[in-house]
């Protein structure tokens, strides 16, 4: 159903922020009767670029300075994207001279490669391929220390709204007239905010009543696979605060167990909701109850937005959509409120009648439209409040089921590093079950890790894809390796160590850090066995366990302690340095430690020289950082 409009809004989004801003922009333009194409950069058909005249790009940057995954590849893993086309060397200079473009970058200046993705796009498209910039691009900084909001005290949303304002001003000025339904040219007007914009394709009852089979299937994405759970073990002690799991699964069809992956590759998991949460939703929106199991179909084909959900559930019913595709446990974003506030209509559920209904409508609208997002942030983000809980607070809301895939967030897959050896048909994940508390009484649980942790052995419903990330270049095999991982960062490193046919390297040092030797020493026995057999040289460190770790706390302490030997490997023997684990200060501190090591033992005169060497290592793929 894709027909590309002359105005295209393309986004690259890792966590969903850019996607939300793109959705808001698309809503606002449509309300001014501008038809827009809204897609992830990776899903946009590259050939359609010739049809586009006005291009709006909103993109965040991953930790490595790269475009987000949904900008770099299609959901089925194909690399035939707009970006890969634009990177072709043979394109002529004026290739994009039919396009006027405006960029919005979303970044965080605490990462070294701040807003690199948008700069790459800008340089290629504007400086090299001749696209004309409508106005200087905007770069938002989460920290407020750089980019367009540097030192203004304004948040990233202020930068977005500036971007939006410039675009709307430009388009309104350029196209003051529009065609009305009779085809007459009339002055361009804005659709009233209380009018819900009907999506191009939405749900209706299926014309033919198909036999209601209980068998769940997924259509439309051939690349999605189904796993059978082989093992689901808790790795940490019962009294440890964190529940770390070893989850092993294999393709449920025996004939399809052969699978190609390498150390550093990830499994992308499509979680689903628990039945009791689905029931809670249906009881809240009880007008859906009587039709929850009726077969449905789309009025005008499968909407574009459903490309990224790992195939569409069959039979297509509201209950199945709620269970498999609609992210009722997620924290909703601005565009959710923008779309649903009009549905606050049911005064019968208001203890205080019309006045309370009006209050609820006003509040929901404020969440959707207020440019100062503080209220929304305090109500939703800080306490991590889910869609389900919000509907419970706003009982006036009666959602129309026909459009539910337009206004409710969809479940996105989550990626986990694989910890089994290359191409092992028994795919192993090592992940921590996410659980934390906020001011809300109910414990917050990670949707996906909770889902995984409750999968029983033998279950065959796990939906997954394997993503090849090509982290360790083939030509670097047999180089010495320094593997560094605090905590569950160990997962991809296990895969490196398990590469035994042939062994990936005869000189592997593993620096593993955790809190206590007897509580969260993940695979401790296995690691020590490998160490004893000479497969690796193990350097464990326990941050809260003085007895077993008397003079070191963190992995960087041990690196420093073995500084002379490790620096020699890095500086003189082309060793690969592979760092995994949580993002934040850890990778920064490890990096600083390596720079200091290079200075002290590597013969590098100053910071500058050491940093240059490190950058060279990165370029050669010898300094790999996989943090999340």
């Amino acid at each position: 159903m894709s027909s590309t409009h002359k105005i295209a809004i393309l986004y690259g989004s890792e966590t969903g922020n850019s996607q939300d801003f793109a959705t808001i922009l698309s809503q606002k333009l449509q309300r001014l009767h501008f038809a827009t194409t809204l897609l992830p950069l990776g899903e946009f058909n590259p050939n359609d670029i010739l049809k586009v005249r006005y291009l709006f790009i909103l993109v965040s940057t991953t930790g490595q300075g790269e475009l987000p995954r949904n900008a770099n590849e299609t959901t089925t893993g194909s690399k035939k994207t707009l970006w890969s086309l634009l990177k072709k060397k043979n394109l002529p200079e004026g290739f994009l001279n039919h396009i006027q473009v405006a960029f919005f970058g979303l970044g965080d200046s605490s990462y070294p490669k701040f807003n690199f993705a948008v700069r790459k796009l800008y340089n290629r498209m504007v400086n090299q391929l001749g696209a004309r910039e409508l106005f200087d691009r905007l770069e938002a900084d989460e920290q407020g220390m750089a980019g367009s909001n540097k030192g203004t005290g304004a948040g990233v949303e202020a930068v977005y709204f500036e971007y939006e304002k410039k675009i709307i001003n430009f388009l309104r000025e350029k196209f003051p007239m529009m065609k009305d339904s009779q085809g007459n040219r009339v002055e361009r007007t804005e659709i009233d905010p209380s009018v819900y914009l009907k999506p191009k394709s939405y749900l209706k009852f299926a014309g033919v009543t198909t036999e209601n089979t209980p068998v769940i299937n997924f259509m439309g994405d051939e690349s999605v696979k189904f796993g059978k759970i082989v093992a689901n073990n808790k790795l940490t002690a019962d009294d440890h605060f964190q529940d770390v799991r070893q989850l092993i699964f294999t393709n449920r069809e025996e004939s399809r167990r052969e699978i190609d992956y390498n150390p550093g590759d990830t499994a992308s998991i499509y979680p689903n909701n628990f039945d009791h949460d689905v029931d809670t939703f249906l009881n809240n929106q009880d007008q859906w109850l009587s039709i929850a199991d009726k077969p449905l179909e789309f009025t005008n084909g499968v909407p574009d937005s459903l490309k990224c959900i790992g195939g569409i559930v069959q039979p297509l019913t509201l209950r199945n959509l709620l269970k498999y595709h609609i992210d009722i446990m997620s924290i909703p974003r601005t565009s959710f409120f923008m779309k649903i506030w009009q549905f606050a209509t049911d005064v019968t559920r208001m203890e205080r009648g019309q006045e309370q209904l009006d209050d609820q409508r006003d509040k929901l609208k404020e969440f959707g439209y207020d440019e100062d997002m503080q209220e929304l942030f305090d109500y939703c983000n800080r306490p991590r409040r889910s869609v389900l809980e919000i509907l419970d607070d706003f009982l006036s809301v009666r959602l129309p089921w026909q459009y539910c895939l337009d206004y409710l967030p969809l479940i996105k897959p989550r990626s986990y590093s694989i910890s089994s050896g290359p191409s092992d048909p028994n795919i192993e994940l090592t992940m921590a079950v996410v659980k934390y508390r906020t001011i809300l009484r109910k414990v917050r649980k990670g949707v996906c890790t909770t889902y995984l942790s409750e999968l029983p052995v033998g279950d065959t419903s796990l939906r997954y894809k394997i993503q090849n990330n090509n982290l360790i270049k083939k030509e670097l095999h047999n180089h010495p390796m320094l593997l560094v991982s605090p905590g569950v960062g160990l997962a991809p490193l296990l895969s490196v160590i398990k590469t035994d046919n042939p062994v990936i390297s005869k000189n592997i040092h593993l620096f593993f850090g955790c809190r206590f030797k007897d509580k969260d020493y993940l695979y401790g026995n296995k690691l020590e066995e490998w160490d004893a057999k000479g497969r690796i040289q193990l350097h464990p460190v326990f941050s809260r366990d003085r007895e077993n770790s008397p003079d070191t706390k963190y992995v960087q302490d041990v690196l420093w302690k073995l500084g002379a030997e490790m620096t020699d490997l890095l500086a003189n023997h082309e060793a690969v340095f592979f760092l995994c684990g949580t993002s934040g200060r850890m990778p920064l501190q490890v990096r600083l430690t390596v720079i200091e090591m290079l200075k002290k033992w590597g013969g590098f005169e100053d910071d500058e020289a050491a940093k240059d060497f490190l950058k060279e290592m990165e370029k050669d793929g010898r300094y790999i950082q996989e943090t999340w």
């Binding site: 009767h33 890969s84 400086n127 691009r137 905007l138 770069e139 019968t348 306490p383 414990v443």
Partner: protein, 332 residues
């Protein structure tokens, strides 16, 4: 003969009890008998009914500033009904000027006199002719009185009205009018002159992306070394930087602050969730022995609760019903 008065109290007056004390002292001096004293919420929810034509004076006590008063508009008519003709209503402000006039009050805003409203003869609905002038003359207070200024004030808004009020449970929600964005709207854009150096057909031959040869592609990393052009600064940042969120491995103390805040709020919750059902009926709008602030918003859910509300973090509930502990009890 002493005048009969009603004190209406905003629940949050408990934070400024001197308001009540003062009002009573003034009444005593002026030979006014305070016949009743009610919480505004009780009147608003209908659990207390005011008698018609009963009071000479109604005084509303609230800690809010006059220009920030939030008052249920529908109660203005109720209060008018409870007042005798020419009775005085103190304590509201020009925020509700329009409602005052619509309900047949006259606004007295003289220097040297306390601002108040006076109940006048019922005016019949004649929207185009609100007899302000004659009324002010009739009140006998000539001179410095300011008339309510309607120039810039919008007429009573009926924007909110069009939603039908469902008296009975409606199985289907009212779906707002839905508009399909016409697909051909961007025909407008056709009058763009095409000043492209290459025509589409020339460009089209570069579209064959079948060859996956990496060598034929530029190196992304080279793109960020080039000059990166200008970045626009935002002109005005209406929004503030959000309260800083602790990083995963926070060491600057924000994490501890957050934990502390969560602990505080939770220990408050512990107190309120232990209320018995009887206590909960009282919880909402009590002054004496109040368990919580009586802003009236506690039951409405976090989106409407005050900062510091002991119910923060708990679901919305029906006033008087025990909070469903099952839905909130699985602690870490």
């Amino acid at each position: 003969m002493s005048q009969i008065a009603l004190l209406l109290i905003h629940p949050a007056v408990t934070t400024t009890p001197e308001l009540v004390v003062n009002a009573k002292a003034v009444a005593e001096q002026s030979n006014i008998t305070i016949a009743d004293q009610f919480l505004i919420n009780k009147v608003n929810e209908g659990s207390i009914k005011l008698k018609s034509n009963n009071y000479d004076i109604i005084r509303y006590l609230t800690p809010e500033k006059p220009e920030e008063i939030k008052f249920p508009k529908k109660l203005i008519g109720t209060l008018k009904d409870a007042l005798k003709l020419n009775g005085h209503l103190y304590g509201l402000s020009d925020v509700y000027k329009i409602d005052a006039v619509v309900n047949g009050f006259e606004i007295i805003n003289d220097e040297g006199k306390e601002y108040h409203w006076i109940k006048k003869q019922e005016i019949k609905a004649t929207p185009q002719a609100i007899p302000l002038k004659s009324k002010s003359a009739a009140s006998g207070e000539m001179g410095a009185k300011k008339l309510p200024n309607f120039k810039k004030t919008p007429l009573p808004s009926f924007k909110k009205a069009p939603l039908p009020t469902f008296k009975k449970a409606s199985p289907e929600p009212k779906v707002a009018k839905v508009v399909v964005i016409a697909d051909d709207l961007d025909d407008d854009l056709d009058d763009e002159e095409d000043d492209g150096v290459f025509s589409d057909s020339t460009k089209a031959r570069y579209l064959d992306v079948n060859d996956d040869d990496e060598d034929e592609s530029i190196d992304e990393d080279d793109l960020v070394n080039e000059k990166s052009g200008n970045v626009a600064m935002i002109v005005c940042g209406k929004s503030k930087t959000k309260k800083k969120k602790a990083c995963k491995d926070c060491s600057c103390g924000i994490k501890e602050e957050e934990e502390q805040e969560i602990d505080n709020i939770r220990s408050q919750q512990d107190k309120v969730v232990q209320f018995t059902e009887d206590e909960l009926t009282e919880v909402d709008f009590t002054i004496d022995g109040k368990k919580v602030g009586g802003c009236g918003s506690c039951s409405l859910g976090d989106a409407f609760r005050c900062t510091g509300c002991p119910y923060l973090g708990l679901p919305a509930f029906k006033p008087g019903e025990a909070i469903n502990l099952n839905s909130i009890s699985d602690d870490l």
